[in-house]
């Protein structure tokens, strides 16, 4: 895979992603979810709005699920796509970032209800961190 990709389970869908550090991991998680929701690779969009995201968790899995849940909430409830991240702090237990927002280009292609912890483990191999998140569709 590249830095992120979509995969399908029998009933649901998920994303796999990797990064050299936590910033890369969170960035590629966002890119993977955007691919799943809007069906396109990174778009050069400059959002006119932004939102502040801050989460302190018990590990990278916990941070990832809550970060992805926030992106989903913005897409479905506020009709906003997160197009870029400006990190304030990113490690395995804490993520603080300004989310750059743009109006959703269209309705998300998939009705994702929740990001799950199903078999979720952030792993490290050859200096790359990777994870796979399954979404309840």
């Amino acid at each position: 895979m590249g830095n992120y990709e979509i995969f399908a389970t029998t009933a649901d869908m998920g994303i796999r992603f990797k990064g050299r550090d936590f910033r890369g991991l969170y960035e590629n998680a966002l890119a993977g979810l955007n691919l799943l929701l809007f069906g396109s690779r990174r778009r050069k969009i400059h959002g006119h709005e932004s939102a502040y995201f801050s989460y302190c968790g018990d590990g990278p899995e916990n941070v990832l699920v809550n970060f992805l849940a926030e992106i989903l909430s913005l897409a479905y409830q506020k009709k906003k796509q997160v197009v870029a991240l400006a990190f304030v702090h990113a490690d395995g237990c804490r993520l603080e970032a300004r989310l750059q927002l743009a109006p959703c280009p269209f309705e998300p292609k998939v009705d994702i209800k929740s990001a799950t912890y199903h078999n979720l483990r952030v792993q490290e191999h050859n200096g790359m961190k990777s994870a796979a998140v399954v979404f309840d569709v």
Binding site: A8, A11, V65, P108, D111, S114, A115, H118, N119, D136
Partner: protein
Amino acid sequence: MARNFEKISPWRWRVDRSTDRAMTADAEIFASQEILQQAQDDASIEQVVNVACLPGLVGNSLAMPDIHYGYGFCIGGVAAFAADDGLVLPGGVGYDINCGVRLLASSIPAGEFAAVAESVGYAILQRIPTGLTPRSNYRLNKKEFLRILSGGAREIVNNFSGRAADLVFIESGGCLPFDTPGVISPKAYERGGPQVGSLGSGNHFIEVQAVEEIYDPQAALVYGLEKGNIAIMIHTGSRGFGHQVASDYIETFRKKNLGRLRLKDPQLVHAAIRSPEGRNYLQALNAASNFAWANRQLLQEDIVAILERIFSQGREKLGLELVYDQAHNIAKFEKHLVAGNMASLLVHRKGATRAFPPGHADVAEKYRQVGQPVLIPGSMGSRSYVLRGTARGAELTFASSAHGAGRRLSRHQAVKFSAQTDVRECLKKNGVLVFSHSEQGLREEIPEAYKNIDDVVAVTEASGISEKVARLRPLLVIKG
């Protein structure tokens, strides 16, 4: 991991606790050889075994004949814990809390319906919000929404529409106790409020079906199902509200408990029923269950109004009567016989249906002689079944049964499989009219994407956990 199965009968298999040191109970699967093989292939057997490793399980970790892979807990899974000192697992309920099925019988002959099927399809699609993030027809303020969360279907009957007489034909009367609004997150209120009275997407549907075959004339008569007449089936749940409740409490349980739990899958996170977080989750679960019952009640009344208008007759003349409304993603306190003693249990059913036997006090008086109806919907374009609960099922499965077919192909595979096919036209040739706003959604839900419902029902009956009453053939499908 390959497991050794003890064959109890051709339809019942056991992984004995002695084969795995982590297991505190046996894992028992109701399946044909073929279904068992599929369950091994998709690793859902391991999920039944993982549940059998939880402390305090009463009886065994069970899987119904529609077993397939879920999050942590398999779909088709049943697990019971002692009501006083047992556990509660959000993963044992699932994200779509009280996803369930409602069936209405009618005296409208299928032939007569065929003449207006298209108009009914358009009218339903126009009236009922379907698909992705639809906006409700009901603009509710927080006070009104809270009344729905505490009153469920009863609140709809009292203050919106419907008949009080229907409530006895809804599991738990369509309302579980909820009186603590503080246990619900603002996000859940935000997601759920605008979705009251909507169908949703995915495998949720409204179907008009023809009663095609009667297997048990006595029970069918009691349920009001007559061969050749139409019935209406509604399959939906608690929408974004239930999903948010589930997500919120998986987080809460993680924070409070994960450090001291040794879980094979983090989705199996749990808490003691009596703990503050366990009690709060059960309250929130009840609120989401009430949302779902209210939702199906509203959808029913919308459909009844459409049929009344199109046939220019009232519901009584059309014979529109609620057969039953039941949950297939829920945890509820029930009493069951365990080793000869009546025990109070919290029974988790995830993709499993309650199936109380004849004579059970919680079955509506009208149905008490034949047992509770068990509704098992098929996929779009395939048959659905009505079964009834049995004494054998009460003994073997905490009165639980199957809930549906289960997917065979992923959504992506289904879309690819149907790429060269006009799905609507194909179904039309088989006598099924389909209405949907989403072409993609339709392709994801093609009949080939699902396992054969006939196999699931055959095992369900052969194992004795429920008995067939009637088979229903779809005529009109409205998909989210």
